[in-house]
Amino acid sequence: MSKHNEKSLHKQTLHKQTLSKKSPNNKELPQACQAINEFVIRFANTNGTGSASANNMFAKAILRMGIPVSAKNIFPSNIQGMPTWYEVRISEKNYLGRRGGDSELVVAMNSQSINDDINSVKVGGYLLYDATKALNSEQIRGDINYLGIPISAICLKEYSNPRQRQLFKNVIYVGALAALLDMDFAILKDLVKDQFKGKEKLITPNIYALELGYQYAKQQFICPLPIKVESRDLLNNRIMVDGNTATGLGAVYGGATVVGWYPITPSTSVIEKFASYCARLRIDPATGKKNYAIVQAEDELAAIGMAIGGGWNGARAFTATSGPGISLMAEFLGLAYFTEIPVVLVNVQRAGPSTGMPTRTQQSDVLCCAYASHGDTKQVLLFPQDPHECFELTAQAFDLADQLQTPVIIMSDLDLGMNDHLSTEFKWDDNKKYQLGKVLSTEQLDELEVYGRYLDTDGDGICYRTLAGTHADKGAYFNRGTSRNKFAAYTEKSADYIDNMERLTKKLTTASQLVPQPIIKQGKKIAKIGLIYYGTSSHAITETIDHLKEHGLSADTLRIRAFPFNGQLEHFISKHQEIFIIEQNRDAQMKSIIVNECQIDPNKLNSILHFDGLPITSRFIEQAILTHFEQQSSTQQAS
């Protein structure tokens, strides 16, 4: 109890009493936190106890009340029995990045971590805890409010089955929160019904558990608390979903049929979701047979090998992996780059290096993906910011891979992939046709006089490919990772080799025009500050801009959505006096690539690097920017 240690203790909980200005030991209590639709609740649980679905229900209830909400699951790399947290930010200002700092309300259900959890309550905030066992005096802070509910005792009394006793604890605190925060109880009931569709027997006991909590809170505490929610209509059609689900669905819409994969956190659910959508949407109605094939491979080398085999043979093929899997795929990524095979790879990044922190988020594979494999290689990368883009860029990735005949890597991360995000809904235009790129049909081959697999007929670095089985006499070639001439024959001739390598460079230039362009937000008057960021860092940016304004600083922004870059990035950098590149890694990896590819003086670029494994916060970014300017002005004063 390092923080606000208060020894003596009279009353632990705010039982039916007005929030007094006095703490239980008569010290002056700080102003109790007050907030409507703008606060953070942190749930501290033990993993494997079923808390995830209850916490999720809570977040979804806020959503259905029309209030913007974001949720971060902070879980351990183990299966059962270790501390896990779920942080829900409610923000009608639409600040949906992780806020960071202490929380207004902490639901502390894990005795292993409770001391830390108590310390994570904001001064004036609230601690909801299981009062079955009294807190010890060390655990009493004078500056927060305690909401004790004898949850275990209630469960012990109400349920006989040990599993139920465990599970319903979570539902009970959600019920209590409904009362404390003034949530719409009907919504919670609906959610229970939705959740147990098909298992109707479970609906009543769950609702009963909700009510147990609700009633207990109503009776024992003054409800609602000064922090509470109010229904709004602020969603604008947005949905709440995790990025991996969106990516899996994007692959279905993008026409993927061949998947090789190997399980690894946090990418596993990309494939699981793809598989379950396929099972629903991709069974041939006539025969009941599958319009797709998924193989759980023996490892990541085999997984990407299968995807490449599928891509070579003209199917839309992909795989998904994280950290160690990316390293293992390096050799094959070089093969696909050099043999020009379309293939899509989803990299849901986690905290490295090595096994690192497998259940934490980072953007630290940027460099190793951009230049994956030995030799001179460059890969095409896409950086989705939210589930909407996970869906859209994944579907588009298959077009790009086919058009460019090269691997396309989707750079997601654990935060995006595994956490629920409020996001623009998924969109699909039925008139849009798959771009299958330059593949010659039987008829086209018939008409052709000479076919050369690596003839750059169009001058864009992209050549025409053929598929096995297309034509009885023409177009066959021997695909190889060794160097070859324009007619795909093996060569060790320097001139042929150089010619091919330079064409591949040209192809990347073509790619820079085809890939999704950066999103630039810029006023008529160019601001002094330019913020460059990508992927999940974007969730912190609206908040950052607002707060910087409060400090009299205005900033334009550029969000990178793909590598290779085109001129827009250089232009943006050249137009701004102070550029900050925001990244979630230690080594400023994107900055390295920008400097290198755009020939930009690195001294022009300031890095803001957040790499502790948790999603970046606006506070962190603001702090870095303000410190930068403070230092600048102090050196200016000094000189």
């Binding site: 279905v252 193989v295 090998g305 043979n313 089985g469 021997f478």
Partner: protein, 350 residues
């Protein structure tokens, strides 16, 4: 460098059922060493495909890296080929086959490629019963990197540099048998009479077919201390059962004693005739096959021929219940659920 042979056809060359000549099944000029066993495998493949009237462009030639893995360049230039990376041919073939089950997958690997770096992929493609012909050109050494011992080299033998093989060899046929391959054979590049019909049977088999082909490396493993030299193999070879291949609509004649001869009707209607040279041999017993291989090895003999065959095998796509249209031919209509369904999905996230 690779050379294209002239494609001029002599008008009187014999043609097969498709009207194709033998030369239509040839590939680029080999750049392997003169006398390399792999070139004999190439020519056996050409003969088998020609005689089976396989459409060259309906074949996919797959390989890893090694002298053996170059071989697909030297047969059927009208077929697409994929010379992938070292030891990873099985995964690439799996993906290719997933995408298009209508092709015949002729895969060539080496013993380094399959028994060392690729051993994991080898095992798992067997397990998945991919419909393919998996050939290993077994020379007991790494040819392309100049003669290091392979894991298939017999314990105690020396390579050309004089290094001794210290550990027991990995017998890929035994492994394939143990892992459940439905067709397992061993042959010798120097014995076309045995090899060609085995290749035909393997190509006609629907399911995973494995053939380990002893294929001497004249440059690095053809010396007296080797058990993969032409001389050694010639002198120590013994055969359990061989196959004859009788195409559809051919009259079936009996040319072997009852009991030692079995005709099996394959899925396309052609007949595979198994002739046992050792009347004790049982081509339906995988375990006995493993033991027979080893017993012969103990006696210093190399057991070749058809070692195991399961005519009723199923293969990956059957097990997966994949639709009959090759996946790479499905159109956007079949693949994309469209906007209407998407709006329902959106609703599930509210």
């Amino acid at each position: 460098m690779s050379f294209q042979k002239s494609t001029f056809h002599h008008p009187r060359l014999k043609v097969n059922d498709l009207g194709l000549t033998y030369r239509d099944y040839e590939g680029a000029l080999s750049t392997l060493c003169a006398g390399c066993g792999h070139d004999s495998i190439t020519s056996a493949i050409i003969q088998a495909c020609y005689e089976l009237s396989i459409e060259p462009h309906k074949v996919a030639k797959m390989s890893g890296i090694g002298c053996s893995s170059k071989a697909p360049n030297y047969f059927m230039s009208k077929a697409h080929g994929f010379n992938s990376v070292h030891g990873r041919m099985p995964s690439v073939t799996t993906g290719a086959n997933m995408a298009n089950q209508a092709l015949l997958y002729l895969a060539m690997s080496g013993d380094g490629d399959s028994a060392s770096i690729g051993f994991g992929q080898f095992a798992h493609v067997v397990r998945r019963q991919l419909n393919m012909v998996y050939m290993v050109a077994n020379n007991g050494v790494y040819g392309l990197t100049k003669g290091q011992l392979a894991a298939t080299a017999d314990k105690g033998v020396k390579n050309k540099a004089g290094e001794i093989s210290l550990f027991n060899d990995i017998d890929l046929c035994s492994m394939a048998l143990q892992l459940g391959a439905s067709f397992v054979a061993r042959s010798f590049s120097g014995d076309k009479k045995q090899l060609v019909p085995l290749l035909k049977a393997a190509m006609s088999h629907r399911g995973f077919a494995f053939i380990d082909i002893i294929s001497p490396c004249v440059t690095f493993n053809n010396h007296p201390a080797s058990t993969r030299s032409y001389d050694y193999v010639h002198d120590h070879i013994t055969t359990a059962a061989v196959t004859d291949f009788i195409p559809i609509k051919t009259e079936i004649t009996t040319d072997c004693n009852v009991g030692d001869c079995e005709d099996i009707c394959l899925h396309d209607g052609s007949i595979m005739r198994i002739k046992k040279l050792d009347s004790e041999y049982d081509t339906r017993n995988a375990h006995k096959a493993i033991m027979d291989i080893e017993e012969h090895k103990k006696k210093g003999e190399i057991l070749t021929g058809l070692l195991y065959f399961k005519p009723t095998a199923s293969h990956f796509h059957e097990i997966n219940n994949t639709c009959d249209t090759p996946l790479n031919q499905l159109t956007q209509d079949a693949l994309c659920p469209g906007a209407r369904i998407l709006s329902g999905i959106n609703d599930s996230f509210r």
